[in-house]
Symmetry: C2
Subunit: 1021 residues, 2 copies
Amino acid sequence: MPNSPAEDKIPVVGSASSPQCSEEGLCFSDGRRKVDYVLVFHHRRHGSVRSFASNSVSHDRISIVSNGNFPSAAGSDAAAGRGGSSPGREAASVGEVFVELGGAGGNDLTEPADHEMDLIRQEFEASLQEAGLEIERDKELKTQGHSFTRVHAPWPVLCREAEFLRIKVPTKTSYDLKEESGFGSTMSTVWRKMNQPFQPKVPHQDHECTKFLTHCFSRDKLHLYNITSKDTFFDNATRGRIVYEILRRTVCVRTCQTIGISTLIAKGVYDAAFPLHDGDYKVIGQPEERSDRQVLHDEWAKYSAFYKYQPIDLVRKYFGEKIGLYFAWLGVYTQLLIPASIVGIIVFGYGVATVDTNIPSLEMCDERLNFTMCPLCDGACDFWHLSTACGTARASHLFDNPATVFFAIFMSLWAVLFLEHWKRRQISLSFSWDLTGIEDDEEHPRPRYETILLQKKQRKENKVKKKNKKKKNEPEKQEDGAVTGKDRWRQKLLSAMAAGIPAAIEKLTWKDRLPGYFINISSIIFMFALTFSAVFGVIIYRITVSALMAMSPDPETKSNVRVTVTATAVIINLVVILILDEIYGAVALWLTELEIPKTETHFEEHLILKAFLLKFMNAYAPIFYVAFFKGRFAGRPGNYVYVFNDYRMEECAPGGCLIELCIQLSIIMLGKQLIQNNIFEIGIPKLKKLVRAIKDKGSAEKKMEDERPPQQWNLDYALAPFEGLTPEYMEMIIQFGFVSLFVASFPLAPLFALLNNVIEIRLDAKKFVTELRRPVAVRAKDIGIWYNILSGMGKFSVIINAFVISFTSDFIPRLVYQYMFSETGTMHGFIDHTLSYFNVSNFKHGTAPQNIEQADITVCRYKDYREPPWSPDAYTISKQYWCVLAARLAFVILFQNLVMFLSLVVAWGIPDVPKTIVEQFKREKKLLVDVFLREEKEKFQLIQSLFSKDATHQLSTNPLSPGQVLPLLGRYSTLPPGPTQGSGDGGGPRARCRAASFSQFTRSIPPSPKNENENSRHTAV
Amino acid sequence: MPNSPAEDKIPVVGSASSPQCSEEGLCFSDGRRKVDYVLVFHHRRHGSVRSFASNSVSHDRISIVSNGNFPSAAGSDAAAGRGGSSPGREAASVGEVFVELGGAGGNDLTEPADHEMDLIRQEFEASLQEAGLEIERDKELKTQGHSFTRVHAPWPVLCREAEFLRIKVPTKTSYDLKEESGFGSTMSTVWRKMNQPFQPKVPHQDHECTKFLTHCFSRDKLHLYNITSKDTFFDNATRGRIVYEILRRTVCVRTCQTIGISTLIAKGVYDAAFPLHDGDYKVIGQPEERSDRQVLHDEWAKYSAFYKYQPIDLVRKYFGEKIGLYFAWLGVYTQLLIPASIVGIIVFGYGVATVDTNIPSLEMCDERLNFTMCPLCDGACDFWHLSTACGTARASHLFDNPATVFFAIFMSLWAVLFLEHWKRRQISLSFSWDLTGIEDDEEHPRPRYETILLQKKQRKENKVKKKNKKKKNEPEKQEDGAVTGKDRWRQKLLSAMAAGIPAAIEKLTWKDRLPGYFINISSIIFMFALTFSAVFGVIIYRITVSALMAMSPDPETKSNVRVTVTATAVIINLVVILILDEIYGAVALWLTELEIPKTETHFEEHLILKAFLLKFMNAYAPIFYVAFFKGRFAGRPGNYVYVFNDYRMEECAPGGCLIELCIQLSIIMLGKQLIQNNIFEIGIPKLKKLVRAIKDKGSAEKKMEDERPPQQWNLDYALAPFEGLTPEYMEMIIQFGFVSLFVASFPLAPLFALLNNVIEIRLDAKKFVTELRRPVAVRAKDIGIWYNILSGMGKFSVIINAFVISFTSDFIPRLVYQYMFSETGTMHGFIDHTLSYFNVSNFKHGTAPQNIEQADITVCRYKDYREPPWSPDAYTISKQYWCVLAARLAFVILFQNLVMFLSLVVAWGIPDVPKTIVEQFKREKKLLVDVFLREEKEKFQLIQSLFSKDATHQLSTNPLSPGQVLPLLGRYSTLPPGPTQGSGDGGGPRARCRAASFSQFTRSIPPSPKNENENSRHTAV
């Protein structure tokens, strides 16, 4: 190591004014270096306490193992970063560090397995130090319990990685956003004033009229960036991301063949790894400035802020783009639910208002009309009067009225509008968050993929070996050892290759995945069958229970049959759905693992698709049954359909199936939301926390009491780990299904969704701010596959709603009656028209009512379009039936094509990219070109001034020595090498950035340490 | 002008080996400088012959006015190019040139209007020379007739513009395309061998296994490009494009306020402007190498090559990307028509094979069944036997059989497949033609837009002026003159601004366009009405003529009623369609002009949409009528629907409406194609040519005979001008409609389309190669709005086909009969089932047949589902009707959703970008980065070697003087300035290129002449 650590640390120390380290536990013990990441591991109980205790007492409470930063090794660091260095060199340097570590920690403290893990940890942490990170460990008396390794990324490492990750940072140049003038300006001022109470109180929220130009970070252009302090230039989220990037790609070659922290956590080497929160979220006293976490907690993550906009920029700053996009999406969705709810309420209100003037329900309630209905069950049930079902008829009208049709069309367009609006919002966000131009990185393969690939290679090798052996007939033993050694070497090479070197051509083919696919398909089929059998089970329950209850002699029981059965059945449904939901989540995870997807992105996509499929089926199967199948296979009096030879298939309530669908939908939707919100999202985390607390208490009691207050890392470790956004999105998507798919039957669904979401946002916010460890800030430029699912659901909802309106509701039969069969042109007589006649004498033996109260009944009515008993072909389907059916189908075609056409018009009418953004984009591009042209000009002037005077004298006397000119040249020359310019549009920016970083990492000529010093001097001036 | 022209011309002269000027008329009279563009103007007859004749004799036959190339003024040239220079400077330089011209030509020769035009021409050509172009004019004795101005672009101009236009050129680096290995390789070899006879014999077609890296042209990187000769480095198409670009943006400030050659042509200042063809297309003798035009003519533009692939790369090279894409698209479409035709033939074959076993048609032909049908017209017609319609029944089965349903589904998927395939092909082409990364240029506004804008500004100004006057009450006269002067100045400024300076914020709002929109909408509605009335007129014709013919006593006439009427009506339809088609084309153009679209692109899009809408309606209205309306409003016996109180609405033939639809479709499709191909595409151009030739002859006879053989520009001027691809595309799109929209009724449509297209390709090719002036090579990265129209039509075809199958064909009634009403489960009795009964006594007075031959008839049959006379509600629509209707509607829903789903699956299953392209793209990007990194490295080494030795001595003794180092630095430093790097993905490459060109055009520091010399020396080495 050519430069001593002390010398290199100077800039870091010099610039570390550390205002952010005021709080306890956010920094190393020197109070200057920020803790950017924490690795936690857990000492096993059966550790050898003695030696450790005796060892640690003699040390400082905290020993800092700092490797400084080796600027001259930046190139090789980078090489290691990109592709892992060659095993030989690696081993040597690891050895070096190992010796160093050998003194600091004891590596003979733990049991064999633990011992091995300790070695892995040591190697891993040494590699981290080699990559430039600084590490601090607790060295206190710890027989067991958790040990925290704190990681700090010094400025040069941050710079290197920021360049590599192409992180966009603000330059010194800012520009004013276009101010509207005239009427528009007044309007926007008024609007802003009106909006004031809804705006969260977030600092710097008002400075939105100027925007700093941003640009990919490059070490050569430090002077262009707006660097006030090297400690705060990269915010904590970015620092965390940078460290995570290093953790992710750091290779363990010697002790275990793995890459990255996630594998180590999976192997149990570490318990957890997370970046630190920005201190406590509770504001204690009156600090002059609240931390981001405190601001988020006060202005965002509490229920009392439910009416406010979300401080989405701050959320993004604190949690990263991916989580920021989730909340932005949730916000847009919730916001757009407001108009949908209002229209829904109006539609419902229309139903309420017209219920007393609605002729069909009036006719049903009219006792004078006195329709004698056929019994609802065989034998035990008696004939009954339709007017007794007056209640359901009236209730049915609330949801089944002409306004519902309008509402269904409205909601279909609303779904399109929502998606278009979100597209625009996403583009606005990606512009203001500088996500334009980022592309999906080439990801490292997942640990599991790698393992399987290695196994495959080994199997292949073994086969070849065996073949060779057979051919050569040589003794086996000798070679075996050699091959093992060779295998080892291969493994190492492979893992290094997998870390990014493009030569890793070998990949898993479909043959390797065949068993996985097979299990997948069969499991999914099994799950589907499970769902359907659950639904069927509930149907059976309903049929049997209602039959049994009908047979009960108690009239009280009898009269409540329908209510009791429906209510209990729906609740059973709900419980089944909730249980299966959890099971399916786990199953989807397991199945996706079996598929061995190559990258994390693939994994996530496959998981989401599978989970969505299963959960969607689960949540909607009973609803689909009620909407489209219930009551359609019941048969007719005298010829009922029986299940198990005994029980009649169930029919819909006299008011129509829509009211049942409505009940089913509302209970499942509300129940699912309430229970999932309360139990799964609040209850279970609390419970887990409690369990963890009790556990920790147990261990804490055993160890000596510690006077030191808990550090931030202790507090954060006590929180639950962040487990991805998939469940959050999934919940919302399923809810979106309730809102869009069957909205024709339940206009209040948007309202309930709105109420739920207002709470959900704050609940999620609370969870993220107070109950979860800080997630690594992940970049994402859109919500990914969720958008496709949403859009697919929107399209599906059109056809579903068309069918609900035409087949489940009575809308079409009424229309047909009014315009084709009614003699007066009004709805009078509609009920009579829908009821067919049945001659009581045609009852099959044993199915006629046994205790007939009214013996004079010869004809009873039932709801169907069939020929009367006196017709030549009695009980066959009548002309009316076909007529209504044709009308229903025609309506489906009309509705579907109309809505599809309108959706196209809406989507076509709303441009994807807002005009203002297009203009700003152009402007920004122009400004950036200007800035860099100015730079180029300055360079030319410099060089000209250098050469224009007498060169002989100039160079010997001018304060600008060659050493100083060179870095300047270097700075300009690494303006991204134009090559990629021509190579394409999609890949352009990334390739450019890649090219830039590539040149940084590979070229050997530029005298980079001097360059760096030059640059830092520049910025200091 | 600091440098004398002679000095600067040296490199041009030195490098001009001019092998391409072997042929007569492709070069200036010096035989070296290529003619890149020709401007033609026409002397008016009433010119003053005397003075001109006396003048011209004293001069050389040809006087070359060459301004040389002013390298030092390159910057200002560029500025002029970008935004027009300031009026003051312009005027001065124009003055200079003007003096020069004053000597060469006489400007007092023509009548006032002509005189003005002459001045405009002089100014314009002077501006061209100022922009660096070289000009040659005929100076012969020309009293009238055409005068040709030839334009040559010298190397520096080409370089400058190529850089500005970001033309991609090949670099020295090439790479091998990946060779497949193993089985794939064998397969591809076999495939290539099999394909050999289908490949056109085009030179360099085989070298496809290596590809040169391409890169945006930049004058600073000349050494990187593969420049063998400066004369051939840019091919003729590119040269033409470059000159056109200059012509397009050159401003006329002094004599008229316009920009660009197109305005001047519109004003009649010039007659035409076109680049030259590459010599004659006929190969005379045995030249060692054929010119591109000859190769295209021999291998592509002749009918005998119909079975060959198109040499699409050569087409692109010769005609530019836009035309290349058209032919590529046409090729893909034609290729994909082959499988569609084959399946169509099979489906038709199935119909032919089953016609003798088809029960319904057998039943119809069976005379034993003896259905007595009700008369086809009132009074005059008699009852008739169904078996007499046996012929149409059998013919009907050919097209109306179950295979048609399969074919409709197949063709819907085929349409999706075609679009997906084209998407892939387009991406492949844009990769191999280096179109990736090009973006739509910011276009100049159209001349008309500019004019209207100016008028608007003037009106505004006048208003303000008037207001001021009213306020100030000052005398008017004095100010008036001042304001006019000011207006002039404003106009100049405006036209300069419009030429590209972004400050031109003023634009036309919807208010200015309101009258245009109004006329548009009303005209389109009128056109629609016209189309419909034409269709209705033909219906009336059919009804009246058939009624009249039926009344004729001649039995021969009577028996041929249907055939005669149908045939004549369709022919009338066809003629109307063809006439309206031409009218609508002109109307669409006129309407689009009224809309005042801002740019040429907008104009084209609006025009296409309008023309498509009108022509689509026109071509399909009669077909839609036959498919969905004919025979549905005819009423029933005893209650017919009458038009004009006298004529019964027409019914379909007894065999079903499908056969009529089929006849209509086939005649319109074939007739349209044949007539349009023969008359409009071959005949009319020939006629026009003839007319032109006669005209020219007339004028030629008057002037003295000229011994000189006609030059290439004379030959080319005699050709027809190129008028855009819109008509070509439109024809194909309308044909695509025939193939997709009603394909269910006419499975042979793809076959006829295929036959037509095989001819069409060669016809178009012939036209482009031999009959049109060479079009300017226009870049385009896709086929634009046509893709959307195609995709919209594909979607529309699904629903249309669903309706054709379910409503026009008898497919559904047959299915329904077989599975619901047939007692045997077979089709026996189907005909009987579809015919209703009518009691002859129920005929209204006067409508019963007058000359009844069979007096014993009491009941006749008619095709409808109605209750028989003996039913309680006689003649009302029967249950069967509703049943069949429901089935039909259900089929529509099923078909539409099934096909939509399958289309989604197909579109989703085919990735948009072929895998090989993705790989090549990545590889190329990497290679480019490598190339430029190597460059950078070399630079560093150079600089290091410069500084590493003793600086004091080095600079004075080293052969590398500062003057030599500087340009090298400059070269690297203008690696596109990284700025844009960060600014976004979409705009990335373009912004980069823009940045590069911007820096070229605006920076004043780089010593560019030296730089250029350096570079040329470099490449010479």
